[in-house]
């Protein structure tokens, strides 16, 4: 196979995984900006939701699309429960405590999933489109990768439109900007925050459902994923959607190309060093302006 084709395939695969990092990063950024909580459990929440889809298909023989619908529904409920249990009850205290609580939650969820499903994983997870490659120009590219990229771009576009042009989106932006003033303007702040957790959880579950066919479903499929999503979120400066999407795609491509052409073993180190370098050059992220805090 000519070198060019392999390279293109690596790039496309990188774009696909990068798109998924971006999707999870969007969820993280959403929750972070609206509720000011860095939710380290986002990955495990997505993993459990995806397991729910798997169970629905296994136990009841549901078709994939229906199971996915149930999965997203579950994710929404899970997001709300966690909002209630963590963000709402601890909102008065130190934000660092809430962040560490999400770490605790991540540890607990991961171990719980491991103990329930640990013996027989990983499980194969079906994809919406077939995995057979399709011909684009003179290259063979996996349909699944293309579908993932398209889906994430659509989701990102949808989010952008939602936040720009709907009242609910406007309310969310207001709460993210200044909670007190938003409340004074009559915005139901707690409801908006709950919505952000629900939507964040659903986005995460979507990312999980698209990730599972690529790497097989297992209780540790999200572990590295979340850190990368956070890094991508920070690359996007935690404030700009395009930054997150571009950052994610870039990161995915760099990761895959390095893995393929430089070294598979050292790849994580190289990826993270790249992130740190980017952060040093542009501490506010790729596209954002630096916001100074009040003293």
């Amino acid at each position: 196979m000519p070198v060019g084709t392999l390279f293109i395939q690596q790039v496309v695969a990188g774009l696909a995984s990068g798109a998924l990092y971006a999707l999870l990063a969007l969820a993280v950024v959403l929750v972070f900006r609206v509720s000011r909580v860095a939710n380290f459990a986002q990955g495990e929440m997505a993993m459990i939701s995806t397991f729910v889809a798997y169970l629905l298909m296994e136990r009841t023989g549901m078709p994939l699309l229906l199971a996915l619908f149930g999965d997203l529904l579950f994710a929404g409920v899970l997001g709300f429960i966690l909002y209630f249990a963590i963000a709402r009850s601890m909102s008065a205290g130190d934000p660092l405590n809430v962040t560490i609580s999400t770490l605790g939650l991540q540890i607990a969820l991961n171990a719980a999933a491991l103990s329930v499903w640990g013996e027989t994983q990983p499980f194969p997870f079906p994809a919406i489109v077939s995995v057979s490659p399709v011909r684009v120009g003179s290259f063979l590219i996996s349909q699944l990768h293309l579908a993932i990229i398209a889906a994430v771009l659509l989701a990102a576009l949808g989010l952008f439109l939602f936040f720009r042009y709907t009242m609910a989106g406007l309310a969310a932006r207001a709460v993210a900007l200044d909670r007190t003033v938003a409340a004074l303007m009559g915005i139901p702040v707690e409801r908006v925050i709950a919505q952000s957790w629900i939507l964040g959880s659903v986005l995460g579950a979507l990312a999980g459902a698209m990730f599972a066919p690529l790497t097989f479903l297992s209780s540790f499929m999200m572990q590295g994923f979340l850190l990368k999503a956070f890094s991508v979120a920070i690359l996007g400066g935690m404030t700009s959607w395009p930054g997150v999407v571009v950052g994610g795609l870039l990161f995915g491509v760099v990761e895959n190309v390095v893995s393929g052409y430089v070294s598979n073993v050292w790849q994580p180190a190289i990826s993270y060093i790249t992130i740190i370098l980017v952060l040093l050059l542009r501490p506010a992220g790729l596209f954002s302006t630096l916001y100074r805090g009040r003293v």
């Binding site: 601890m90 607990a108 850190l227 073993v265 740190i276 952060l279």
Partner: protein
């Protein structure tokens, strides 16, 4: 003398009980000195682990509790200590004491080079950057497989023995823990400690008082890294075998949790947090698969109801007791 700083997540009161500290420390030392004589091999191993982790936590508290900077990267320094000592003494035949000194110097250098870029970031970005360092460290262990044995692992360095190996490892760890506690206490109550807490409370105000945040943060990182590195060396001496799985970033999270759940900017807090992590699974008689679930839930519950950590809880109980006593008098 009663200083109270109320600030962003930092509450420290320099207690009047200076004499109390010495008494407590001696009592602790004696207790820990006697326990191994009535313990079996397994419990001794746990106690040694407790001393090592507590040592690291005490150091980390200087950075996280006093100086208010997050760090999820200390498993990297821990790994550096372990593998540095092991590789130098096992592969290159360097005498153990010299290996230890060289490894410590290496750890300090790495800490400095991590601090320079990392401190240009703040809050969440800093946390992610430190997490990235932990990942890089674990990747390096596998990447340098010819030296480190990678996934298979390598044998730990041997130390000259004057007593039973397990006992010696324990007493060595205990010695360093006690020294570490004394050093930490001195630092916290010195000008450096006050500068750290000033930086944690409000950096701009600290600058206007003539404190350079960058220097003090760097100092905190380097000192806590030294603690972690030495802890790693003690760990290498205690274990029979080193492998890369032990040094995962999740260990960093565990250290961080030990400090915060126990109580930030508090020596007793670090000890309590470590004790929780090491002994709770044993007390509850749960197996290793379920242990993290419990630990995670404990973190959640503790921080929900006791935002100041376990130490905050005990302080509150003591205050209640004192108030009740006062009311009765």
């Amino acid at each position: 003398m009663h200083e109270d700083f109320v600030g962003v997540g930092v509450q420290v009161s320099a207690r009047r009980r200076l004499n109390g500290f010495r008494t407590l420390l001696v009592a602790f030392a004696v207790l820990m000195g006697i326990i191994p004589l009535v313990s079996n091999q397994y419990v001794l191993g746990l106690l040694t682990l407790f001393c090592i982790y507590a040592f690291v936590a005490v150091g980390l508290d200087l950075l996280v509790g006093n100086c208010g900077q997050p760090s999820f990267g200390h498993s990297g320094f821990f790994a550096l200590g372990s593998y540095g000592l092991a590789v130098l003494s096992v592969h290159f035949g360097v005498p153990l004491a010299l290996s230890a000194v060289l490894t410590l110097i290496l750890t300090l250098l790495v800490a400095l080079s991590v601090a320079v870029p990392a401190l240009r970031l703040r809050d969440l970005s800093l946390a992610i950057a430190t997490f990235a360092f932990a990942v890089i460290a674990q990747t390096a262990i596998v990447g340098l497989t010819p030296l480190t044995g990678g996934v298979q692992g390598m044998a730990s360095p041997a130390m000259p023995l004057v007593m039973n190996r397990g006992l010696q490892a324990y007493f060595l760890a205990l010695l360093f823990l006690l020294l570490g506690i004394i050093l930490s206490r001195n630092l916290v109550q010195s000008r450096t400690g006050r500068a750290w807490r000033a930086v944690a409370t409000n950096e701009v105000a600290a600058i206007s008082m003539g404190i350079k945040p960058y220097s003090y943060k760097t100092l905190a990182i380097v000192i806590s890294a030294a603690y972690a590195g030495i802890g790693g060396m003690l760990f290498a001496l205690e274990s029979l075998h080193l492998s890369n799985e032990t040094f995962a970033p999740s260990l960093s999270i565990a250290f961080f949790a030990m400090v915060v759940v126990g109580g930030r900017a508090s020596l007793i807090g670090s000890l309590l947090g470590t004790a929780l992590y090491v002994f709770l699974p044993e007390f509850l008689q749960i197996n290793t698969a379920v242990a993290p679930i419990v630990f995670g839930l404990v973190i959640l519950v503790t921080l929900r109801f006791f935002p100041d950590g376990l130490v905050g809880l005990s302080r509150r109980l003591l205050d209640h007791a004192a108030a009740a006593k006062g009311a009765r008098a």
